[in-house]
């Protein structure tokens, strides 16, 4: 069975300091630290493309996992909606070239935002198991710095750039369990790009997440016949501390298990969940973790990760 073997990440060193920017937007320090949660918003450099962030994350993965070689990679998936250039060719093809991967590798992009990692795990697991592939890399690299208007209060204090790379293969430490998915295209106008600029109706996005995610997690727990007390950690997409808190309040007995950690990264879109897993789950003794991604689309997905006692 294909599962998660390792996760690596790349967070650019250059970052905006949100506490130095609050006066411009009439916000308080408390709003940034307690409600947004992001103190630093990493920014890829002008010399970097999305593929370069992806490459950095994958190189770190190769460095951390010596058993994974360039020649051994069968499939590369890049989750992004802000890829290289103007959309063609797909960013994963460019990453294949930049990394010097073999030409028999399957490479494709997945156009999803904050739900993208959860979808991506299942897409890659199914792809690999059906095709009999051994080693896959799931990359998330969605730099919203390309589309955020620095003067837009709604979005300018939220999003950070980052990339992650997840090695998926057999004899994995973490198995990818059952999942539930969701889509509501009524959310089209809540988060969209117009003339290459992101617009966000903060209230609509907040309301969508606050109303849908907690019931979705409860539905998944029911599907897998577990209680919230059986789960060691809930790794939600880190839209903001406010939204994670609004969701976790629906789980009064487990609120402390909802991980919040975006002080140094901001909302990194599809990278937020793998960043949490890398830092707070991998290498721990946790056994069951729920992940839930939600956002642009609207699109959402919730899944169970189970430690493999192999």
């Amino acid at each position: 069975m294909i599962g998660i073997k390792d996760i690596a990440s790349y967070v650019p060193e250059i970052a905006l300091d949100n506490l130095l920017r609050i006066q411009r937007f009439g916000e308080t320090e408390e709003f940034i630290t307690k409600k947004i949660g992001a103190l630093k918003l990493p920014r890829m450099s002008d010399a970097q493309e999305t593929s370069d962030m992806a490459v950095e994350a994958v190189i770190r993965l190769f460095d951390a996992s010596k058993e994974l070689s360039r020649e051994g990679v069968d499939v590369l998936v890049v989750v992004t909606q802000n890829g290289d250039g103007e959309g063609l060719p797909h960013t994963s093809a460019i990453v294949q070239r930049k990394l010097g991967l073999e030409k028999n590798v399957a490479a494709f992009d997945v156009s999803l935002g904050c739900s993208g990692y959860v979808y991506g795990l299942h897409i890659l697991k199914g792809f690999m198991e059906s095709a009999g592939l051994k080693n896959g890399i799931l990359v998330t690299a969605d730099p919203y710095s390309k589309i955020v208007d620095p003067e837009d209060k709604n979005t300018s204090l939220l999003f950070g750039d980052a990339a992650t790379a997840t090695w998926m293969g057999e004899s994995a430490d973490w198995l990818i369990g059952p999942a539930l998915f969701g889509t509501d295209g009524e959310g089209e106008d809540a988060l969209k790009t117009s003339n290459a600029c992101l617009t966000m109706n903060g209230r609509q996005v907040f309301e969508f997440a606050a109303k849908n995610v907690a019931p979705h997690i409860k539905a998944l727990l029911k599907k897998v016949e577990l209680e919230e007390g059986d789960i060691d950690a809930f790794c939600l997409h880190q839209g903001s501390y406010a939204i994670v808190d609004a969701i976790s309040r629906r789980f009064k007995d487990s609120q402390s298990k909802f991980i919040r950690d975006i002080a140094d990264t901001g909302n990194t879109v599809s990278s937020s969940i793998p960043l949490l897993l890398q830092k707070h789950v991998m290498g721990t003794s946790m056994k069951k973790v729920v992940i839930s991604g939600f956002g642009v689309g609207f699109s959402w997905a919730t899944a169970l990760l189970i430690r493999n006692d192999h």
Partner: protein, 74 residues
Amino acid sequence: MITEQQVKDAIISAGIDVDVSAIGPKDNLGDNGVDSLDFFNLFLELEDIGGKKIQDDQMEKLNTIEAIVQFYVD
């Protein structure tokens, strides 16, 4: 219809970190520590209690407990 107390209870249920006992019916909620994200949470609670959706263009006016109570009378 909802009462002043129900609005105060909603502020607490929404996880808003303010002293509701110190907020009078005509006091501006924004001036008493309720920020934009708090309002999102509050409106969700109010919609559950009052059964009426608050439209985006109505939000700005609902900045006192009195205005919220009146909204759910109309």
